[in-house]
Symmetry: C2
Subunit: 233 residues, 2 copies
């Protein structure tokens, strides 16, 4: 009496259905592998392969020796895939990275109005803190990556769209993971970048849309220039 599980798609479906039927939420534990074997009716190998698939999609998380849990449903698979694309296809001079940066810039411009509206006359201390830290780091020649990321994350939260915030984080991660191929940024680039972030915040709290759009251009100028330089090489 052979089974007809063509591939692991049916097993992954079964696990996803199990999550839905029981109303599990991110962080909740799912049955152990042995229990899944019984409930779904396939071998342990198949369960494990299906779990791998769902872990890759951040639908599940596995803690060795502890158990398996519902994942964060983040955009991490997007990041991993795009990073690999970036290193696999360096053709046409980092076209993949350029595409990501261009799209980041487009989205920033498209949501300028919402962000300026949200920040006009506010000057939240969280954003200010990150900007000050960036200026300080750049002055010392230290990398500003952690503050840079937090700044953009905080900024993205001004828009009432969780998907947008996740995309911003994903784009930032992709950029950061692929950028090392371009070589390290100079101290002057660091300082210019820090000042660009300061300019973004200033313009937003001032409610100056025009200046905010110019600050976006200033923010991406060193990155795109670096990409241009590598295009000619």
């Amino acid at each position: 009496m052979p089974r007809h599980n063509r591939d692991d798609r049916s097993t992954t479906r079964a696990i996803k259905n199990l999550i839905l039927e029981r109303g599990l939420r991110p962080g909740d534990p799912i049955p152990t592998e042995a229990e899944l074997v019984e409930e779904i009716g396939v071998s342990r190998s198949s369960i494990r392969e299906a779990v791998r698939t769902l872990v890759a999609l951040d639908i599940l998380q596995v803690r060795h020796g502890t158990g398996t849990f519902v994942g964060g449903l983040s955009l991490s698979p997007l990041v991993e895939g795009m990073v690999f694309r970036g290193v696999l296809m360096p053709g046409k001079n980092h076209q993949a990275l350029r595409d990501v940066v261009e799209l980041r810039r487009c989205l920033d411009l498209a949501l300028e109005e919402q962000i300026v509206d949200a920040l006009h006359g506010k000057d939240p201390s969280t954003l200010r803190t990150e900007v000050d830290a960036m200026l300080e780091c750049a002055h010392r020649g230290d990398p500003i990556t952690t503050h840079d990321r937090r700044f953009h994350l905080l900024l993205s939260e001004c828009v009432d769209n969780q998907f947008y915030a996740q995309l911003v984080a994903a784009f930032w991660d992709i950029h950061q993971l692929v950028a090392p191929q371009l070589g390290v940024a100079s101290t002057s680039d660091l300082q210019a970048s820090a000042r660009a972030h300061a300019g973004l915040l200033e313009a937003a709290v001032a409610g100056d849309s025009q200046r905010y759009r110019e600050a976006i251009a200033a923010h991406y100028e060193p990155i795109l220039r670096s990409l241009e330089a590598h295009s000619r090489a």
Copy 2:
């Protein structure tokens, strides 16, 4: 002499490195499982679990009885993850789907200039064909999904950004896969949607940015209205 492969991360890395070192491209075959066992030095189970991970990310593709190949590096993992998010988190009235649609609209508006520039005075037959087919289908009350998708794909190719085109395709797929929860669209909605696409094309070939932006609004109006209706329910 125990091995120190902590998890499948090292095995997936090994396979990815293999692809990079040999300069393989999407569609190229990679070694068989048995060969990978020898070359990487882990068991077949581990190889298979790593392959599952990479298949989920569309870095690999497996054909039963034939072999394993480099995948299309598409955004399919983004689609699968977001779709599951949409069905798992119906809270706040389809917030996830609304976020995706809103972002689609933002991107369309942000790239309006590039698309209008590319199409001004052109009126390409490929786009015209899809629009005519949509109008015809809507008139008969048939779904316009396939032509709708092709139209947006063709439109996205006017922008010189492969990532944008992939995102458009992914957003469309997410929308299409989650939307059935909202119930079927009426015939009048279908016809309105078909006319909206026609309006997009007309405005673009006329080089009329203002009208194009209005057409974008008309395009998303029925969708957002449907989402609103379900929010109040």
